[in-house]
């Protein structure tokens, strides 16, 4: 210590500052037992529990399987009759006569759809083997206006009779593929909301993050049709109608090749990629006072909506697990919050994808260079909740087979959120 510091120490050691008036009032009252010291309420643990609960709820909602909107055995066979199925948008006026559909009809992506009985010319022998709820009668919960339901029922005077299961395919060369008919209305919004449950701020940011634009002009019509020609060889007058999968999807082009037998090709008409959502569990090792190494496991969800000429609208969800490695520099910190910037690399590996609810091709690995800024709320000394706006650039690769937001935009901006464990080797 320098001389002047010793002098300062000596001067202050014996010095007594004048005590302000009432400076010991509380202490004296306490000593007399008249004023019990009230413990100050600390919201720390309350907020910590709320944060953990939010993340748990988000993950639980994400992992819960979506409820199929259509029974899995929703298969119908119509003999000697061109099949037309009409999906009427909720916003469409169903009181207007629905046209008898002949191919080709321009498909659209209505905001939400419900399946109603098609208007078909009366046929001599028309058998519906099963009675899928959505094709017979509009379910009550899906019909806000009872008048609409009545109108639809009036327009579909189909003479149906149920055939026993054992006789269902007696005359048909086709084998029912019931599992393929499962239609899952997996909306990106609830998933987005669930993931964003990992952080309150992320929940605020999520709606604005879903900003993908359609990559083709929207189709003006409000009707969407499925048409399968029943004049192909060997079908014996029967058409197997599959409400969703009319062919094989080419993962490279997202086109459905129906094959020559039917003579039709399902073409991708438009698509929309949503911005990815990212959450994760991360660990930060403090190498120096302000320098730390951050790594962990992140989960990314890439959602896209594809509209095909015949199959209609399908949602593709691609799930990735990533391992980022980043070096972070703390700009500012206090006991509760850390503000930092960092840069590093990340590898994302596709763990699965679905198209229209069915399992789909896995994407190749994606490696990216990333830079991030972040805000970390330290719930405890070791556990924090982070929110990180992140800019990453994906390295070009031939192994990407899925069309996702990443393919369209190698430079991706995301707001990641999650839990972080803080470790220290200092």
């Amino acid at each position: 210590m320098s001389k002047w510091e010793n002098i300062v120490k000596d001067k202050l050691e014996g010095y007594e500052s004048p005590l302000p008036e009432g400076g010991l009032a509380e202490f004296r009252a306490r000593r007399k037992g008249t004023a019990p010291a009230a413990k100050r309420y600390s919201p720390r643990w309350g907020w910590a529990l709320a944060g953990v609960a939010a993340v748990a709820a988000g993950l639980a909602a994400l992992l819960l399987p979506p409820r199929p909107a259509v029974p899995e055995d929703a298969v119908q066979v119509i003999k000697n009759q061109p099949v037309a199925e009409v999906i009427v948008a909720d916003s469409a006026d169903v009181s207007e006569p629905v046209p008898v559909l002949t191919p080709p009809v321009q498909p659209v992506s209505p905001p939400s759809t419900r399946r109603v009985a098609a208007v078909l010319p009366k046929a001599e022998s028309e058998v519906e083997v099963t009675e899928p709820a959505e094709t017979a009668v509009v379910p009550a919960e899906e019909t806000a206006d009872p008048q609409k339901e009545e109108t639809v029922a009036d327009e579909a005077p189909l003479d149906r009779k149920t055939v026993p299961d054992e006789a269902r395919w007696a005359d048909s060369p086709f084998v029912p593929q019931a599992p393929q008919t499962r239609k899952v209305r997996l909306n990106v919004a609830p998933v987005a909301g669930a993931v964003a449950g990992g952080g309150l701020l992320a929940a605020v940011l999520t709606p604005s993050a879903r900003g993908g634009k359609p990559n083709s002009s929207p189709v003006a019509s409000t009707l969407e049709s499925h048409y399968i020609n029943n004049t192909g060889p060997g079908n014996n007058g029967y058409v197997f109608y599959n409400s969703i999968d009319a062919g094989t999807v080419n993962p490279y082009t997202q086109e459905i090749d129906k094959g020559d037998e039917l003579g039709l090709k399902d073409v991708l008409e438009k698509y929309t990629h949503y911005r990815p959502l990212k959450t994760g569990i991360s660990a930060r090792i403090h190498l120096k006072e302000k320098l730390s190494l951050t790594s962990g496991l992140t989960y990314s969800l890439y959602g896209s909506k594809f509209t095909y000429s015949f199959s209609g609208e399908k949602t593709q969800l691609a799930h990735y697990l990533g391992i980022p490695v980043r070096l972070d520099y703390t700009l500012a910190s206090n006991r509760w919050l850390d503000v930092y910037i960092g840069g590093g690399v990340a590898g994302d590996f596709c763990v699965g994808s679905t198209l229209g609810g069915d399992a789909f091709a896995k994407d190749g690995p994606a490696f990216s260079v990333l830079g991030a800024g972040g805000l970390q709320w330290n719930m405890t000394k070791r556990l924090g909740l982070y929110l990180e706006p992140e800019l990453s650039w994906t390295l070009p690769s031939e192994k990407h087979v899925l069309k996702t937001y990443r393919n369209e935009h190698p430079l991706v901006f995301t707001v990641a959120t999650g839990l972080r464990i803080n470790l220290s080797i200092l």
Partner: protein, 154 residues
């Protein structure tokens, strides 16, 4: 005690609250105190007050990245005469003006005799970090002394 609290927290009101909190805690936990000679009670209460002060500082502390690239201290050391002539209240005022972390490190190291290792443990920073903070505190105080000398010179 009040002077000690002022040294650590700067603000008079905060210092008053800290002093009362420390005394009340000492009163509550008096059964845990072990007498070990003259001055041990004061040392015990003083330690309670310092711990409480550091907790407060840690809670409200923001450690910003210093952009003071040319942070080398080239100021001459104040002489004995110059320092002796400074009133205690002025010294307390200058110490109170230091940012929380600098104030805490200066108090702990220069006035209360803790080592950088101990300070690092108490404040959750490294030894080098503590030394760096102390250097900045010293520089700031020397500037205050220099300014005061200029003002008071005839």
């Amino acid at each position: 005690m009040y002077t000690l609290c002022r040294r650590y927290l700067g603000e008079d009101e905060d210092a008053k609250d800290l002093m009362q909190d420390a005394l009340i805690q000492a009163l509550d936990k008096i059964q845990t105190f072990k007498y070990s000679g003259k001055g041990s009670l004061y040392g015990w209460i003083r330690r309670i007050a310092i711990n409480k002060a550091l907790n407060l500082i840690k809670r409200r502390r923001w450690r910003w990245v210093s952009l003071d690239i040319a942070g080398v201290d080239h100021l001459p050391e104040p002489t004995e005469e110059e320092t002796e002539g400074i009133p205690q209240e002025k010294l307390l005022e200058w110490i109170a003006r230091l940012p929380d972390e600098r104030r805490a490190v200066f108090n702990l190291y220069c006035l209360d005799g803790y080592s950088h290792r101990e300070i690092g443990e108490m404040l959750g920073i490294s030894e080098k970090g503590s030394a760096g903070v102390l250097a900045k505190a010293r520089k700031q105080l020397k500037e205050e002394i220099k300014r005061y000398r200029k003002e008071t010179e005839p």
